[in-house]
């Protein structure tokens, strides 16, 4: 739930999503849902020469379960806050 909130704060930022099929897609984060499904606008696929499949696609929906990494814009993430929040979250889960 916490990571979901983190993603919500990053809407309208440019992120790069790497999929488990090795496709790498850069675009503007439009929305995220509870499954961490991602909507990207204005997308660009890395190495377009080798991946012309998405030439005509300008915005897309990526299923959360196929995401390997999301590269975040570091300047828009408060790493210290994130560290504290995740540890607090983990502590609470142990208690429960």
């Amino acid at each position: 739930m916490l990571i979901f909130s983190v993603f919500k704060t990053l809407t309208d930022q440019t992120v790069t999503v790497e999929l488990k099929n090795d496709l790498s897609i850069t675009g503007v984060l439009k929305s995220v849902d509870q499954f961490l499904n991602i909507r990207l606008d204005n997308i660009k696929v890395a190495d377009e020469g080798r991946h012309p499949h998405m030439m005509a696609v300008k915005n897309c929906f990526i299923r959360g379960s196929v995401v390997r990494y999301v590269q975040l814009p570091a300047e828009h993430v408060d790493t210290q806050l994130l560290e504290d929040a995740t540890r607090r979250d983990a502590m609470n889960q142990v208690k429960r």
């Binding site: 099929n21 991602i38 012309p52 499949h53 005509a56 929906f61 379960s65 196929v66």
Partner: protein, 95 residues
């Protein structure tokens, strides 16, 4: 859910096994199960142009879905599929 806005649009659906299907999104649900009408599979290969295989009306299980992209008709119709050479999209590993 985030698939709102894609209904009645022509979309590209990439499946977990790497297949690419183009069709009109007529329905979806919370689990990202998808109904596509008038779909065609686009078969990519490195030494031949893209082959389109008509499939008709398809219901795709949400767990098989990898990506759904809205197709820009202007760009798509201006591209000559028979001249495009590309390896198929790799399948998902450790889905």
């Amino acid at each position: 859910m985030s698939l709102q806005g894609y209904t009645d649009r022509r979309v590209l659906l990439v499946l977990q096994d790497g297949r690419a299907i183009v069709g009109v999104l007529v329905g979806f649900d919370q689990k990202s199960n998808i109904v596509l009408s008038d779909c065609k599979e686009r078969v990519y290969s490195a030494d031949e142009g893209v082959e389109e295989i008509p499939l008709g009306l398809y219901l795709v299980k949400g767990e098989m879905v990898c990506l759904i992209g809205e197709i820009d008709e202007a760009i798509d119709s201006s591209a000559d599929l028979s001249t495009i050479r590309a390896e198929p999209i790799p399948p998902i590993r450790y889905g």
